[in-house]
Subunit: 415 residues, 4 copies
């Protein structure tokens, strides 16, 4: 069997069947506690409250993206584009670690208890940390991840309009939610990949698959990622965490798991992570379990607002949500809050935890930042928007903004 | 077990798992030779030359559409819309027989050997014929099929923008071709169906599924139904049949199966079917097997044109095809034909069988004829084009026209 | 739309597509916090450490079993067997609540901190509790669940060799683990169901599907449920909880979520649940999150044994496990424990937390208790073992026992 | 793009997604008319009369087996077993051509109009023929196919208990029939492959997958390949062809396509193919279309027996079939034939075309000829029957024989 067999671990995956770990160093990174923690962070946060199958983790998604990257490398090599062994290992590690900085319920967390740090920054910090531990074996991976590697197309496999990250998450999220409309022909797209002028490009006969990919993404946005009930749940969590932090800041006692307590007690900014190495280790202990467990306990807290919000979350008795084309007026909002304050005998300020508004925006294809190269038989390369003859992508690329209002069911007749 | 069990036949279907035959009269129609012949007519004609799995028949599609119709009836009844037992049987029979008039390779046949008759006319003739045999048991079905039944929405289940025919064929064609991009969430769409003012309507929250359905249809058109190699094969068949008919008209001997011979020898028009009942029976004997078998024999015919064309088809050595945005000029065409005539030592007229041009058009959503009603929570109904906030359906509804040129590989350097 | 539409909620399910909530009372039970808690209890406990997709919950499984029950009721009614509306509601509620008494990681919990209570007892307690709250609406359901209802076959849909529980969990567990070998043709089996002498029976032509079902179950047992790495993880958790309880009993401080703390502090027996209604409410607050969160914190506990075990679990650095046909000898065990005690500088007693042995047994078909009725065309009914001509089910029914030994990797050369 | 891209054709396949043609010579063989003819030969003959989706061809199956062979080669190489480029091409071509000698409805044909020749002999003849045309490029392939190549395991990939042929056909036949019970985890099995002492072996942890594979095969045999209605159809076709040949031998006029006519008119034996090269070319023109088209015409033949049998086939009004554990007695048979002769006013001899009996046998695992090597962690290799602890394969390997009786529905009360 020989050495080759040693770390050749296989993961079962209902999406692709099997995922083989291709290189020993990849195996070592997967085994690392920093990576294992991704097993405890759901890819889609609270979405499972609407789509009960959506419990898959960032761990599983990352393995999937790694699998697709392997297929893409194989396909490009078969077409004669050179990818050295070191580059293949590098791009594999880069995609593997692209999400390693994600915390639990990223969006909710970033809007409540951490500030000014996003998961990309944290991913970079984790990678540097691991690179030291692994004596520089991640150098190429980090260069590719940061788009500082000479072959730009390798970075594009990790992060671009058509990267393996998106191909996997759209497919995986469709699979586990059961929203078949979001299924993406990742196989077909990968089979159509080329490299032209150091950029990834797609053969022109794959154009309908690309159109479909963009439409699928749009559908997944509105049907899953920005589903109104998911939004309602997410904003409920934001408000729970905000309230908890407020209570802690006011010196009130509050149950919290140790990992969460750290971040409830102090305001952590990006520089803190750079200056205090042990803070990254603390962050690495924070996952979905800390947040949900604490919320469960808060059901019984003496603070009426916290307890009510937490009960709503745990028993899945979410706030109602209504979508609008325009912003909800301040008067309307004030009027509803006053009504609720009266009904529940709480302050107007507190009622804002239950009655609130915000907006979301999405565009399926961003004309400014995005570019999907289409390669024609005559060697010409055009951007998708110029190449697609019929489906007006300029229309798809128009950002769509939607406003929403959340409120308790009791107010439904007040709208 | 009782009587109920008697004709409760179950069909295996890889698409839906099982299809149950719901009523005894439905069982009897399925058993009829007129219906059994659909087993010998492929749903997608020559498409299997590009997508080798696309061998499914009109028989199987029709059973699938019947299955979806059953689900739709169940769903509508569960929501409180009245559908009597007789109506349920009627709409089931109507969908079952909607394609019963299809001949083999319909498109090719209608462009070569029959003229002025389409499969809907023939379906109507077959139904009347069967209605006599079954003593009027198909009265309701025929009324629904012809849109003369009081509840219009029943006809819409059989024939409309969102009918069960389309839901099945898109799903089935995706399945057997392996073009996953064409998968349609038929389940989701059926779950969203309502009846408003006697018209089918879809709940507003199903709007993304509908958009996806339209985009999937568009993809299937360009990727499968109008795939350029499929077009090339289809036009090859048209030319084979035209040539064969020409030879017969000129009194030459030609092998043909008896069923095909009838239609090669005489020009049949619609009135003939009405006047000669035995002609319909003859037509009912014509299927894919007659056409392909005859073409196989024609490989060895002494007429060089027929033999060459037939060899191309049987050995799948198809004519090259090139797509253009504009029509190919007459000069270009003449020049290519002359070149070929010289190369192959044939007349210029004969070379037109190998070098020819035509155009195809398609629009995903036809603003003039189509309407998909969207039902909003407040009870309002809007057409999809007014309801969809972002995906410009007016763009999708713009007909797309493409021109193409077919020619033998030898001419590739002459273009 | 009318009243019928009101509580007609639809769940997305990647396994069946859609699951419709069929009756208002079913909707109310699903909304109840006792039922919602099943969202936080994974169907397969720690199996996701081996099959990363296996994160599906008892909530989702239960909805799936309910869905299949609806199909079975429909099928039996179509064949002429009477099931009244009240019975249909009853059997639906019975299957819905059959697992409501499950705690987190049932097997591990029952071997560590609770004793003498199984989840069936607790399910019964929960049902009675809910029946009071819903004014006796669950009477029929409870009678069916407890096999005290006049039509015995209804109970068999809920609990028997071929119940809807098994049909769903085999299919669902196969789906989410990605172990395609475990796929069960639940559709086909349901289509073959009959009732003979008040017992469920399967048409003889379904016999291969039943054989396959039994083999699939066997495969799922050895490949998934009793996978050796899953066993290792489960016994690790048992030991963690035992150690934690021991420490608490010895008066040591220990972080624990409130719900878990209750059960770590006192020994709860069945009678306690009957005598103290609030204890059931406490139990209803305990889920996967309490256990995992506490284990995460215990990584840093001062007790070396607890901290080591917890670290192994959280970082998925599990104990090695080796399978044996015979029991491991006491000497061997003692020798390994002494070696470990020396290596890690711990007591021999403590080393037993890391080096231990046990056995598991399984038989795919239990001749004593199980019976699957096969209905032949002549009306005769035989047990599967008499009916199957070739696959010796007596062989399959022989219980298989396997012994295993768990130990830290450092001892691998000592075996 | 370079040369590599030139013949890199991709086939769409609903089973695996995409199948890439890996080498130029493979592309050339696929393009050859001898191979293209497999597009017109259904893998499962008349099975589609029971499972309407089972229309897939030997062409598609062969491409699938080629795809799996590519995966197996890749897997074995990754584990360090040497397979040179020439060997990889060779084994790919060997699997590609392993079925090239199949005629239409092989079983029926071999029991009626050709004699003493099986499809393996014909495959060998076709290969030699092609090898001349391709100047010896098939030398290695032919050596592997005939098990005369030095590395025996390459032959085993093409033909053995676990060859890629079986892995594909079980999976593909399950897929297109919709019999989900037959699904085989081909991916898992391939991932477990090793080579020990020049023989293929499967890692011991794959043992349940192998058991499942054998059971799946057994299920497919009884549920699909030997389905009683399929048997009835096949024997009907045998009798049609026998009768037609008899009529031709008696000098009667009979429509037949030219390719079929050749084989109806003369008795062809193996030596004829070797001596008359043009006979192989004739055979290469015979496919499903010739047989079915001729049968369709024979509906109207003046011979009552031929016309009746043909009508039964075309209108799918098949003979009834009943299974027995023992042979049907001669008296019983005579009595039924006499009854039918009287009913239909035909001779007793002719009635034997409608009333007949035969037997079929199958064993899932043949102890004498079959061997599946299981490789244990300690390097030991055992045969599956010794390695599997519980599922008694000796039971599965017992050949099962079933007798059947076919007869027209009118005799049903005479049994």
């Amino acid at each position: 069997m020989g050495l080759k067999y040693n770390k050749r671990k296989i993961f079962n995956d209902p999406v692709y069947g099997f995922i083989t770990v291709p290189y020993p160093i990849v195996f070592d990174i997967i085994e690392h506690p920093f990576f294992q923690r991704l097993r405890r962070i759901k890819q889609l946060g609270l979405t499972h409250l609407v789509y009960p199958g959506a419990l898959h983790t960032r761990f599983h998604h990352t393995l999937g993206a790694m699998h697709l990257t392997g297929l893409a490398v194989e396909e490009l090599r078969a077409k004669g584009y050179e990818i050295t062994e070191a580059e293949a290992v590098g791009v594999t590690l880069a995609i593997l670690m692209h999400d390693i900085g994600h915390g639990p319920f990223s969006h909710a967390l970033e809007h409540s208890i951490v500030s000014g740090i996003n998961h990309e920054d944290l991913s970079a910090l984790f990678m540097e940390n691991l690179n030291k531990e692994f004596n520089g074996q991640l150098d190429v991976a980090i260069a590719i991840f940061n788009d500082r590697y000479s072959k730009r197309f390798l970075h594009q496999l990790v992060s671009s309009q058509l990267d393996m990250d998106r191909l996997d998450y759209l497919k995986r999220d469709s699979f586990f939610t059961g929203v078949s409309e979001g299924i993406v022909g990742s196989d077909r797209i990968i089979k159509m990949l080329h490299v032209v002028n150091d950029d990834l490009a797609v053969e022109s006969k794959g154009i309908y698959s690309i159109e479909k990919f963009i439409v699928a993404r749009r559908i997944m946005y509105w049907q899953v990622y920005l589903h109104k009930t998911v939004l309602s749940a997410e904003y409920l969590l934001i408000n729970i965490l905000k309230r908890a932090k407020e209570l802690v800041e006011n010196g009130q006692e509050l149950f919290a798991t140790p990992a969460l307590a750290t971040f409830l007690k102090r305001k952590v900014v990006k520089a803190d992570f750079e200056n205090e190495p042990e803070l990254l280790a603390k962050f690495a202990e924070l996952d979905d379990f800390d947040v949900l467990t604490s919320v469960k306990v808060w059901k019984h807290h003496s603070d009426k607002v916290l307890s009510k919000l937490s009960t709503f979350m745990v028993d899945r008795s979410l706030l109602k949500i209504k979508m609008y084309d325009k912003a909800v007026s301040e008067e309307k909002l004030k009027q509803l809050r006053l009504k609720l304050a009266e009904l529940w005998n709480i302050s107007e300020a507190d009622s804002a935890y239950f009655v609130f508004t915000d907006s979301i925006a999405n565009s399926a294809y961003d004309l400014k930042h995005d570019r999907i190269n289409i390669l024609f038989k005559n060697g010409e390369v055009k951007d998708l928007t110029e190449a697609a003859d019929t489906l007006s992508l300029s229309v798809l690329s128009k950002p769509v903004e939607k406003h929403f209002l959340c409120f308790p069911a009791q107010l439904i007749n007040q709208l």
